[in-house]
Symmetry: C2
Amino acid sequence: MQKGGRVRALILAGGSGTRFWPLSRKSRPKQLLALEGERTLLRDTLERLAPRIGPESVWICTTEALADAVRRDLPEVPPEQILSEPEGRNTAPAIAWAVRSMPEEARRDVVAVLPADHRMGDPAAFRDALERAARVVEREDRVMTLGVVPRWAETGYGYLELEPASGDNGEDGVRRVRRFVEKPSVENAERFVRSGNYLWNAGIFLFRGTTLLDIVAQLQPELARGLEEIAASPGRLRELYRRLPSDSIDYAIMEKLDGIATVPLDCGWSDLGSWEALDEVLPRDGQGNTGRGDTLAVDARGNLLFADKGTIAVLGVEDLVVVRTGDAVLVMPKSRSQEVRKIVNELTARGRGDLL
Amino acid sequence: MQKGGRVRALILAGGSGTRFWPLSRKSRPKQLLALEGERTLLRDTLERLAPRIGPESVWICTTEALADAVRRDLPEVPPEQILSEPEGRNTAPAIAWAVRSMPEEARRDVVAVLPADHRMGDPAAFRDALERAARVVEREDRVMTLGVVPRWAETGYGYLELEPASGDNGEDGVRRVRRFVEKPSVENAERFVRSGNYLWNAGIFLFRGTTLLDIVAQLQPELARGLEEIAASPGRLRELYRRLPSDSIDYAIMEKLDGIATVPLDCGWSDLGSWEALDEVLPRDGQGNTGRGDTLAVDARGNLLFADKGTIAVLGVEDLVVVRTGDAVLVMPKSRSQEVRKIVNELTARGRGDLL
């Protein structure tokens, strides 16, 4: 496929998840973890883009607490393009502020907004979908999203309901989005997946930066005013940013917008939302165990053994997650991976900032 | 009870067990571990004796590799009474050589041979039984053993079958031993415990040192000759010791000896033979978990959580052993504690001396 015009990437890297405790910490959230290989998820995100969008065209929106770590992880991204939110205000302010902070030339190009902590099993297929979507943005000045072809009836994700396929919008595999659907019930999720007419909302959006700002001005005038105040008085960023209305981009913009279209993404996507989700994408040994680092499994099946430091040995156990860091160990059934927060909450209640 | 004459203790501290891996290592076997409190099992053994047998009357038989650690652990024991075997040759040579190495004055006293790595829940009851046995040795120059009143039909221990109780040997609770029985079948173990006529063989013996050496000369003349050679040429210890016939004291002496008597021991004895055995004697929290160190259990029951270094957090698991050291973690069901050797064997096969 012929390359279109210049595309800029905005990577959202401000997340502070606790789902990978004890590996993830406040100072090292998921996007800064190397869960599969030697590279962090953030760096994977950058390198996956590189054949199409070089680091000089990448902006990162992160938090003040993480900015140094992000700069160290991505030295090839111009430091002035690594933006630090003074305070997390959810994705609508983050995206709109970051776009508003780009030089005017960049803002007029296609901007692709991407989470920093997702996995794409097939980066070439991902870039292909990104390219198709970018061409639609260039041609039609439309807001695009990349929706993931669902592989099971997940109730933890939002969905995109599509307009029925028709001849004229089939070019480049583009489909029109009828509506955004919040996390569904099991019954609805099953219906969605059976119908073939729904995609997972992966939080990937493409638009011209200037168009996005026009839309913000129209749909979220308070946010737009705040951004102009910040642009006029950059020294007051800290004071002004925390007054921006806190909202997700989905709720503040996308769900209210007509004419969004999508390119279905089928590239081994995972949000790596839990230790169990990581287990699903790691290679298995002969006993169905997955893992990293120095591990030893005797008569043990189906375990995720993640040794960040030191050695993990297991004997006679099944379907467990065992994680070892320099200071802590976590052991739980894989099926309870979603409940790691209970540990984090208990540590918080005990004032164990050293482990958070 | 009135104290008898001077009693010397010989603590056998040469063991190299692997049952407490990853806490136990070649350089730190079980007797040098602090499994319950702050003190090593060896130090517990010494302090338990102290009200009756002071450290100046204690001899330790250990290995060359462990001698420095033993000296550091027990600074109050005269260094010349800490004896190092050049090579492990089982308990018969170790005991006989250690007794032969004592000054003649000590050898003429009552000597109590004690393992370094057992637990006595009630030290006063233990000392009482020891005292009773020592008085019999003084009075009758008999070989005595302290047999443990069995609490279940254990197949992992040897047993002492007793002569039926009679009036004349009931003084001091002393019973005559009919025979030593090796590890029994389940059926026999159950029969033994039901009969009330059997005790567990805990490897605790008392005798006059000179009497033991006479018995060795009679029953194991080759061993006796070897000991005299060593006494005549201490510089050739290394060369001569490894030629001593390797045998257990039970097999070489006790099983062949008539007239052994015993004082039943009922003092919360445990050989702490596995992580599960340790779990049985540790205090439980409200969820039935036991442990040491910095641990956190959420919705988890019946686990042994042993954090020697760092933190252990568990969520939703039951009846597991989780052990964390500075360099390793072990996870297994409590019921498989006897199989830790499989891990050690695998590490050995992989050349992982750093973990052994």
